[in-house]
């Protein structure tokens, strides 16, 4: 008899635990109801998505929890695409995205009854860099970038003299974002013209520090990644300008805000589940996010949006305007956020 008891005790405990986990959502809600008396927010807010947006969400969560210590905010790192998958399944309340939502992702949300509000939180610039020993290249035109990165270049454009006449016969080694990242989606859309269209024979990495190392150790290297990684490794890299028809422009706070560093400046977003906003702690968190996104995004190495855009975003949030201002078409290039959100509001 004895061994049987020993066997069944842990098994039944296990089943009980399973049942408890399934009810987690309701448990959190009843908790917030009882705390409403003291006006203190409680509950768990789950964020996932882009690794680019993660430092901003982390900073906001850190500050928010100082004011509301009973709210638990967790931030995961599944990449923009992975984050949207979890968001559509209702596994997270908020997803960080380094590009606007895509049609397929929008459909997945709709199928599961997940409605969302899109909120821009900061600007990021994609820096194009070469090795410091590269003396010949100070800027590239968008057409030249396309020539290097389009799928047709695979195996053909292998030397710098093919990029522009006058460049030396130096082997061209390419470093870029991994295919799961929003940075890859945005860069391909901006340079090649279509999301995810890229040559395959380059060195991809989800970890931008690996790309930094690669470019800094290879004389004929050309790479792209977030501007913050250039700013923290200025001694190992050479930043080049991008000529979009109006002369070469290097990425900086000024050129991103005045819109001249195109097409490689991009807005970063969070997407918030409308249903989750019924919970007071989620609504309070998102409001706090919009209010502090500017200051905190600068602190972690990004560029704050113009104050007007945060005001527009707050209006969108308070009126609960659903859907994407980008029509759920994924990455779009050269759009000024202010214009976009203002037009949308005029229509409504």
């Amino acid at each position: 008899m004895k061994p049987r008891v020993a066997l069944w005790t842990p098994l039944s405990a296990f089943v009980l635990i399973l049942a408890a986990c399934g009810k987690q959502g309701t448990g959190a809600r009843s908790g917030s109801a009882s705390a409403a008396v003291t006006n203190e927010l409680v509950g768990t807010i789950r964020i996932d998505g882009s690794s680019t947006v993660l430092p901003i969400s982390e900073a906001v969560a850190e500050e928010f929890q100082k004011q509301h210590p009973k709210v638990q905010v967790t931030v995961g790192k599944s990449g923009t695409s992975g984050g949207f998958k979890k968001f559509a399944q209702g596994e997270v309340e908020i997803v960080g995205a380094s590009r606007p939502i895509r049609e397929t992702e929008d459909e997945a949300c709709r199928k599961n009854g997940v409605e969302y509000i899109e909120i821009p939180v900061a600007y990021d610039a994609i820096a194009v860099v070469v090795n410091p020993q590269n003396t010949w290249c100070d800027y590239l035109t968008v057409a030249e970038l396309r020539k290097v990165w389009e799928p047709a270049a695979e195996g053909k454009i292998v030397s710098w003299d093919q990029v522009r006449p006058g460049f030396p016969k130096e082997r061209l080694t390419l470093f870029g974002a991994g295919t799961e990242s929003g940075t890859f989606d945005y860069f391909t859309a901006a340079v090649v013209g279509k999301e995810k269209e890229s040559r395959g024979d380059y060195n991809p990495s989800e970890d931008d520090n690996i790309l930094v190392q690669g470019v800094s150790r290879t004389k004929g290297a050309l790479g792209y990644f977030g501007l913050a990684y250039y700013e923290n490794n200025k001694d190992k890299l050479k930043l080049i300008g991008i000529d979009n028809g109006n002369g070469p422009v290097k990425p900086s706070r000024e050129t991103v805000i005045d819109g001249t560093y195109q097409p490689l400046s991009r807005p970063l977003f969070i997407y918030v589940s409308v249903k989750a906003l019924e919970r007071p702690e989620v609504a309070a968190f998102v409001k706090f996010y919009i209010q502090n996104a500017g200051k905190l995004s600068e602190e972690v190495g990004y560029i704050a949006l113009p104050e007007k855009v945060y005001t527009l975003a707050m209006e969108r949030f308070e009126k609960r305007i659903k859907g994407s201002a980008f029509g759920a078409h994924g990455s779009q290039v050269g759009v000024k956020l202010e214009d976009l959100y203002r037009i949308e509001e005029a229509v409504q």
């Binding site: 986990c21 987690q24 996932d48 850190e62 638990q72 977030g226 913050a228 700013e231 190495g301």
Partner: protein, 292 residues
């Protein structure tokens, strides 16, 4: 004359071969040790300035000098305990059944082949399985429990294989002796076979659990979070672990976060070292007890 002289010549040649082999062997060991030392020294130089009581007791932060590994360290510890609680009884039980009780037929052979194969499956596959089965179908959510179940699956093949190897080293004469004295098969296993096999089983368990402590990919897939500022307060809590925290810090642009990552690695190494030391201690203790 020729025969007498040829023998030392043959001997000398063999001797030279032996010396060459020793030299190559020593070179390989030296290479491995040098690489390891360089890595360890670099990690230590990068990270030791960040090691402080605050580093162990702070939650993650956007400010690298305020960031700590409390959540990750405690998360790793809980995950380890829970994984052990799930994987050890099932794994050792399966091994005992397969070695001591099961008839050898096509079915047990099929099970054996599958277990051996499973030991070689990349860990991220276990992560994908865990995401679908534990997180979604069994709706455990992105919890400590889902993580432990996934890790238990990952550890099981190694535990079963090691435990079976351990059981096989027990000489049959001991089993026959016990049975001849009138003990049942259960009593034979419980009081004769298991104590003898225990050191080998323990070593297998601790080695596979060490692998669990260092695993990153499957936990990222099932949704271990990167930022969390509360300790897990139950089996259903969200969690993070040391390797996930270290991985996140290494991908940040700021140098100071790289130092945090190095410090995190030092702590992780200490933890692994402690676990392996425990394995050796337990093995020696049980071996001595047996000799008496």
């Amino acid at each position: 004359m020729i025969r007498i002289e040829s023998r030392p010549e043959w001997r000398r040649r063999e001797h030279r071969r032996e010396q060459l082999f020793q030299l190559v062997g020593a070179a390989i060991v030296l290479f491995a040790l040098t690489t390891l030392t360089v890595l360890l020294v670099k990690i230590f130089l990068d990270g030791y300035t960040r090691l402080s009581p605050e580093f162990l007791s702070n939650f993650p932060s956007r400010r690298p000098d305020e960031a700590g590994i409390k959540a990750a360290l405690v998360g790793s510890f809980y995950l380890l305990l829970l994984t052990a609680a799930l994987a050890i009884p099932i794994g050792v039980g399966a091994a005992i059944y397969l070695e001591e009780f099961a008839k050898r037929n096509w079915f047990t052979r099929l099970v054996e082949i599958n277990i051996t194969n499973l030991a070689g499956v990349p860990s991220i596959i276990y992560g994908l399985l865990g995401l679908q089965v534990f997180v979604r179908t069994l709706s455990m959510d992105r919890s400590l429990l889902a993580g432990a179940c996934t890790m238990a699956l990952l550890a099981l093949p190694v535990i079963i294989t090691a435990a079976r190897e351990g059981l096989r080293t027990v000489p049959n004469s001991l089993r026959y002796g016990s049975l001849a004295l009138g003990a049942t098969q259960w009593q034979t296993v419980r009081y004769t076979v298991l104590p003898v096999a225990l050191p080998a089983i323990l070593t297998g368990i601790i080695l596979s659990l060490s692998r669990v402590v260092g695993e990153t990919a499957p936990l990222l897939v099932i949704g271990a979070v990167v930022y969390i500022s509360k300790l897990p307060d139950g089996l259903c809590s969200p969690f993070t672990v040391l390797p996930v925290q270290i991985y996140d810090w290494t991908t940040r642009p700021q140098k100071a976060f790289q130092e945090n990552a190095a410090a995190g690695i030092i702590v992780l190494l200490m933890l692994l070292l402690a676990m392996n030391a425990a394995a050796i201690y337990l093995r020696n203790r049980y071996q001595k007890r047996l000799a008496l």
